[in-house]
Every structure is written in C-alpha cells, then in structure tokens.
C-alpha cells in the first residue's frame, strides 16, 4: 500500500503542473485591472501606471507565470496587493479556520446521515422513510445562503441564543469557538447530510438484499448485529467516496457560508481577493484548494483498503 501511495503521489505531479497553468490562466481571464480597482475612482492615470509597474503587471504573461512558478517552488506565494502581507501567511492564517468548519460540518453531516440513511433503508416506504426523503430533498435543494439567513433569523434574532457572526480561535476559547461555528457548520453540513443519507439508504438497501445477509439472518444472528456488522460495514464503501467528494466540495461551499456568517476563513479570503482583484492571493488560494481536493481524494483511496479488504492496489 505504501508503494501505491508513493506511485499515486508521483503520478499527480504533472496534474499539479497543469493545475498551476489553469490557475494562472484563469486569473488572467478575470476582467478588470487590479491596479485600477485598487486605486478606485479617484486614481490618476499616472498612479495606475506606477502601480501596474510595481506589481509587475506590465510584463509579458509567460514571464509572469514563470516567475510565479519558480517562486511557488520555493514556497513564496508573493504578497497581497491589498495590504502587502504575505500570501502564504494569509493562507496559513485562514486555512485552519475553514478546515475546522468543514470537519465540524462533516461531523454534523455524518451524525444526521448515518441514522437517517439507515432508518430509511430499514423502514423502506414507511412514513419515516418518506419524512427522511423529504428532509433529504429539502437539504439538497435549499441554497446555502437561504438556510444561513434563516438560521440567523431564528437562532440569533428571534431566540438570541447564538451570535449572528464572529469567530474566536479554538485555542483561545473552545466553547465559544464551537458555539460560533455551530450555525455555519449546520448550514454547510445539511446539504452533505442529505446527499450522504440518500447514498447510505440505497447502498444499505442493496446490501441488505444480498445472500450473505439472508444467511446471517437464517443463522439466527440478531437483527441489530446483522444490520450493523454485516450491512453497514459493506454499505459504507460507496458512502466513503461520496464523503470524500463532499469534503472537497465543502471547502468550496464554505465560500458562501463564511460570507453569511462572517467567518474569517479561506472562502472569505477568496471572495475578498476576487472583489479587489488581489491576483497573488487568488492564485495562492485556488492552488492550495486544488491541492487540498487532490489530497482528500488520495486519502479516500487509501481508506478504501481499510474498510474493504477486497480492494487491492496494483
């Protein structure tokens, strides 16, 4: 398996190079001149020219790309156009917040999806199943921003239980950190919960109709044991794939949620950078996201083996 892991990592290098070209090219396609935007309405043409020069924007694009790539190789992601702070520093500052949010959201998703998917499968076509299906459909179709505003309205404005926004690092005040991240995590997690519950339901139904489950029943093993040990374990394999994909997606989905709840994370950094055309920050954030999604899918591959010994790596 270690061999497999190493092989996968090396195979990814060309892909990552293509990613850098795409990230850089994409940013070039963004309309609007960063210097013009940064200097605002009151800029004089002379000031715009000066700033373009000091940002290196007046150089040929291939030269800009080559410089960027060489610098990235040395882990130098450049400095923010907005306030001159280091891009790597900004990413290191914001990424943990978003990872925490995403993991919290996944935990909530799992806590909802596991029982919901299982109960739905075990009580197929009953009213509970229909209720869960309704929940899943709402969860999938409800936009993030709507759910977020709804939660703020209920829990922050009406009930005044949870502040509408804000962030405190976990290390500084764990209880407050979790309280403040609860609503964003629920907002972010509900969609994944709905998707995962649907996956688990169909996967469970398929597993429970297998011969070995019938055999287990025939041998007189308790229903609970059959479901949990024989059913759930096998049903989880495709769910883990979905889980991994969801986690990758969460990093992106966090953009809107962080905006609504003013969580100073990775998504917020990206939105702000796009609005101010802070090119070095956009490039850095998108590149790191791409690498993160790759890492997650890589870890998902590795987890397969742990769950299902039938899967072999050659």
């Amino acid at each position: 398996m270690i061999q497999f892991a190493i092989r996968r990592l090396f195979a990814a290098l060309p892909t990552l190079l293509v990613v850098t070209v795409l990230v850089f090219g994409m940013v070039q396609l963004l309309p609007g001149d960063p210097a013009r935007l940064l200097l605002g309405e009151e800029a004089t043409p002379q000031a715009v020219t000066e700033l373009r020069h000091s940002l290196g924007l007046d150089r040929p694009v291939p030269e800009q790309y080559a410089r960027w790539l060489v610098n990235i190789g040395q882990l130098d992601f450049g400095t923010s156009v907005k306030d001159n702070s280091s891009v790597l520093g900004l990413i290191a500052d914001k990424l943990p917040t978003t990872i925490e949010l995403a993991l919290f959201a996944m935990l909530i998703a799992a806590l909802i999806a596991l029982p919901a998917g299982m109960i739905s499968a075990l009580h197929r076509d009953s009213w509970t199943d229909r209720a869960f299906t309704l929940f899943a459909l709402s969860g999938i179709s409800l936009p993030n921003f709507f759910l977020g505003i709804l939660l703020i309205y209920i829990f922050s404005i009406r009930l005044a239980w949870i502040p509408a926004s804000g962030y405190v690092p976990f290390t500084q005040d764990p209880a407050k950190n979790l309280l403040l991240l609860l609503l964003p995590a629920v907002t972010l997690g509900v969609h994944s919960a709905a998707v995962l519950a649907r996956y688990l339901r169909s996967s469970m139904l398929e597993t429970l109709s297998q011969d070995y489950v019938r055999t287990a029943h025939a041998k007189g093993i308790t229903r609970q044991r059959v479901v949990l040990k024989h059913g759930l374990r096998n049903a989880l394999v495709p769910v883990i794939t979905a889980f991994g994909l969801q986690l990758g997606g969460l990093l992106g989905g966090a953009v809107i949620t962080e905006q609504i709840f003013s969580v100073p994370g990775f998504g917020r950094l990206l939105v702000d950078a796009v609005f101010t055309r802070d090119l070095p920050v956009i490039q850095g954030v998108v590149l790191v996201s791409a690498v993160a999604v790759f890492l997650v899918s890589f870890l998902v591959d590795l987890t397969y083996a742990a769950v299902d010994p039938r899967i072999r790596y050659h």
Binding site: P31, A43, I260
Partner: protein
C-alpha cells in the same frame, strides 16, 4: 481551596472587564483595504483612518473648516502661503511628539511615496517649511482654494515619522497617529480593533474599544445589528430603513451626503458625440420616480454636482422634470440605440432597468450591459462605452465634485468632455480663495456643462447609519464618516 479561589479571581476579573470595557462594534460594507492615509483610495478606509489619525483641520456639521491639530491658520501672499499654528503638547500613540517636523514629513510622504493616492489633490504644493516646532508653512505653486478642505481629509492626516520609518511598507498594517483611538490589531475579513487613547489632547473618548467588522451583504449587516452582534452599521440598504424605524430598539441617522449619482455619456464617439442625442436621453429621466421606486426616498433628486446644503449649491438651478416631448423633438424622428454599462447588484440592476424603461418612453432603445466594477472603471478610462452609470462619494469643497470630472483630460472626466470656457472657469474658481466668488464662477461653468450634457445628475444619496438606541454623541457630518470621539453607549 485553590480551585474556588481561582474561580473567584477569574469571576472578579471578568466582572471588572465587563464593567470597565465599553466596546462599540461597527459593521462596515467592506473590509478597509489600506490603513495608510497616503495609500488609501477607498471610502471605507476613511471610517477607520479618521479615528486613528488627527487631521490638521476638520469639518463641522455645516461643512465649515474647523481647527483640529492646527489651532489656527493664516492665508497670505495672494493665497500662495498657508501658515498653520499647531496645538502644543500633542503626542503620537508611540509617545513621540507631534510637531511641525511631523507635519512636514507627512505631507512630503504624501507627495513622494510610490503609489500615493494623495499626489493629485496636493499637486499645487510647492514646498512645506518648518518655521518653529509649532508653526508650519505650506507654499503653493498657484493659489488653490480647496486646500483646507483637502487637509480635512486624508492629505491632512499626520502620521508618526518614527513609526513610518520603522515599518516602511508595513505601516498600513501598523498605523500610528495621534487620534482619539489607537490601532491594536487587524485580522483581515474579520475585524480591526482600536482602543481609546486615554491621553488624547481633546479628552479621552468615552468608549474604551472600537471594533470594525466587514459585512459585504446588506442583509447580513442588518441581521448583525438586529441580533446585537454590532451596535452601528453603515450604510443601511434603503429597503431596510422602515424596518429599523419601526423597531423601538434602534435609531436611524438619515442625513444628506456630499456625493452624486448619474449617467455619463461618451462624447468622443457616436451616438453621443451628438449633443441633441444626449439632451434627448437626459430629458426622459424622471428623478422623483427614481428616488421613490429604487431608493424609498432616501435620496434627493439632483440638478447638478453640488448637493443642497453644500456651499456651491444654487437654488436657481432647478431639478429638471421628465419631458418626453422635448426628448422626441431633440431626436427629430431618428432612431437612437445604445448600450448602457453598469455593475451587477440588486440596486444597480433595478436602476438600470428603470432608466431603460424611461428611455423607451421616448422611443430610445438602450441595452444594459453589466460588468464588474474594475472593468467599468477601466472601460471608462479608455472611453470604451456609450453611456455608463457611475457616481461620486463627494468632497466638502465644490472643486472636488466638479474639477476632475469636466476639465479637459481630468482624471475623472469619463465623458472625454472638453470645453475651453469650462476649463478656464474651473481653473479660475480653484485659484480664488473667497467662497462666494468661487461659487459664482462654478455656477457659470455649470450652466455650460448642463447645456452640453456630458453627464446627467440624477440623485444625491443620503448617509444612512443604523444604530442601537443607547448610543449617543454621534454628529451627522455630511462627509459620512462617523467620528467616535464623543460617542457613548448607555
């Protein structure tokens, strides 16, 4: 024994902390980009900069220039020399004294720093001389009437030379001034925290801590005010005014601003190099309908660049009424089709569609094209548009609302408009120092501009601030910047 003792100590500390620290949190519509008076180019920066830095002079509610760091000043030598007498005993937050040398340093930095956004408004400055520690002299190349108003904004903010030299490019992340609040910390997209300057020359502020937080979405900003997470928000979306007005826990400050909004015509290419076409489009606009439908009457219909209540406003220039017959007559039966550029957003979209419908009543066919703000500015610079929707946040001196917009080659002259008489008049007004004479000159220039229609002024936005009832001491100063020095939270 140890545990209860520690808990008790903690509780006492907590209680002291709650009792002693009065914090006001302010929700802004954007994360202020650059906290350096020389580099700042966004309106939102000024909200924060104004608390950290003192200016040479300030503005009162009637836009009169009043003393601040400068106790008094004298204009001599035919408007070429401004001599300021500084307040004694003022110290920067880092403990260094604020004297004539610091003033000279700040102004020279504004004039020379790479990327300084202040160069344009200070371009008439020839040199700055230190006469004695409390007297500083600004000498001009030519008389420049707006100078005092310019010094009541970022150009007049005095920074600590010691801190600026030490921090270099990073000064914007560690700004040091002499204002009523000191910079403590900043976390991008999260908060900017300031604390009261207890040794402030004009008395310590009543609140202890001032926190600014960005909420780009209007609904989110409002939700945070309603839930108590913040005590002040600026601006409020016009649609939310009535919600706050009806809520007994909140106050709304709704007061006139300095800016204007309207439509630019590109006079350098067809169809708007034809004056009759511009006049026709302008004649279709119903300003009252715009104010009512899009802005819930939180804006004032505009006749020109100077809002009512500002020195150059003239009641003789009346807000034009929509006149479809005139529009059709100007068109002379010829069809007119053009594209109007705007930015995406609920309000801008609604506004563009309303304009489109108004044009259509006179048989004018306009297509709406939405591009993001940077592209809009870029295309405006290159005169690559037919018409575009763009306004201005406004300046206290009339010059700041007209000069760069209509002088030939002006940096905000999006229309590409050029008229020798207007150029002469605008330059003459600048060189005059007595306000009545300047106003008279502006109004002659404005008569010509209104007839040529490179721009249609449609409305003047109000400043809209939402806050909790217990907050007092905030004066409605038309520049829209909230000064927290005298604010108190009960």
């Amino acid at each position: 024994m140890r545990q209860p003792a520690r808990t008790l100590a903690l509780l006492t500390l907590l209680a002291l902390g709650v009792a002693g620290a009065e914090t006001v949190t302010v929700g802004l519509d954007a994360d202020p980009p650059r906290l350096d008076p020389a580099l700042s180019s966004a309106f939102v920066d000024r909200q924060v900069l104004n608390q950290i830095f003192d200016k040479l002079v300030d503005l009162d509610q009637n836009l009169k220039v009043i003393p601040a760091l400068a106790k008094s000043w004298k204009i001599s030598n035919g408007g070429l020399t401004y001599t300021f007498t500084l307040r004694p005993g003022v110290k920067f937050h880092d403990g260094t004294p604020l004297d004539a040398n610091a003033v000279k340093y700040s102004l020279e930095r504004d004039l020379t720093l790479e990327g300084s956004a202040r160069k344009n408004e200070l371009s008439s400055v020839k040199d700055v001389k230190v006469i004695d520690p409390l007297t500083v002299q600004i000498n001009l190349k030519q008389p420049y009437g707006p100078l005092l108003a310019v010094l009541a904004d970022r150009s007049g903010m005095i920074i600590s030379p010691k801190a600026a030299q030490k921090e270099g490019q990073d000064f914007q992340n560690n700004p040091v001034g002499s204002g009523p609040f000191e910079f403590v910390s900043r976390k991008r997209q999260d908060n900017i925290t300031l604390q009261a300057n207890k040794a402030y020359w004009d008395g310590a502020p009543k609140i202890d801590k001032l926190v600014y937080r960005p909420f780009p979405e209007g609904d989110v900003r409002l939700a945070n005010l309603l839930s108590g997470a913040v005590q002040v928000i600026t601006p409020i979306d016009p649609k939310d005014i009535s919600k706050l007005d009806q809520n007994p826990k909140f106050d709304v400050l709704n007061y006139p601003g300095l800016g204007f909004q309207g439509i630019w015509f590109n006079v350098t290419r067809p169809p708007f190099n034809n004056k009759a076409n511009r006049q026709a489009v302008a004649a279709t606009i119903d300003r009252d309908a715009v104010a009512k439908v899009v802005f819930y009457n939180t804006v004032k219909p505009a006749a020109g660049p100077f809002p009512p209540g500002t020195p150059a406003y003239s009641a003789n220039i009346k807000v034009p009424q929509a006149n479809l017959a005139l529009a059709k007559q100007k068109l002379g039966g010829k069809p007119l089709t053009f594209t109007i550029l705007t930015t995406p957003g609920t309000v801008t979209t609604q506004l563009a569609q309303l304009y489109q419908a108004m044009f259509a009543q006179a048989g004018i066919n306009a297509k709406i094209q939405q591009v993001e703000f940077g592209t809009l500015l870029d295309r405006a610079d290159k005169h690559d548009f037919d018409a575009l929707i763009l306004g201005w946040s406004g300046r206290p001196d009339p010059d700041g609302n007209i000069y760069d917009f209509f002088v030939t080659g002006g940096s905000n002259n999006q229309a590409g408009y050029s008229n020798k008489t207007v150029d002469q008049l605008l330059n003459k007004a600048r060189a005059q120092t007595a306000m009545p004479a300047r106003v008279a000159t502006y109004n002659v220039a404005l008569g010509q501009i209104l007839n040529d229609v490179p721009y249609v002024w449609v409305y003047h936005p109000n400043n809209l601030v939402g806050m909790v009832k217990g907050l007092s001491g905030i004066k409605p100063i038309p520049d829209g910047i909230i000064r927290f020095k005298d604010a108190d939270l009960k």
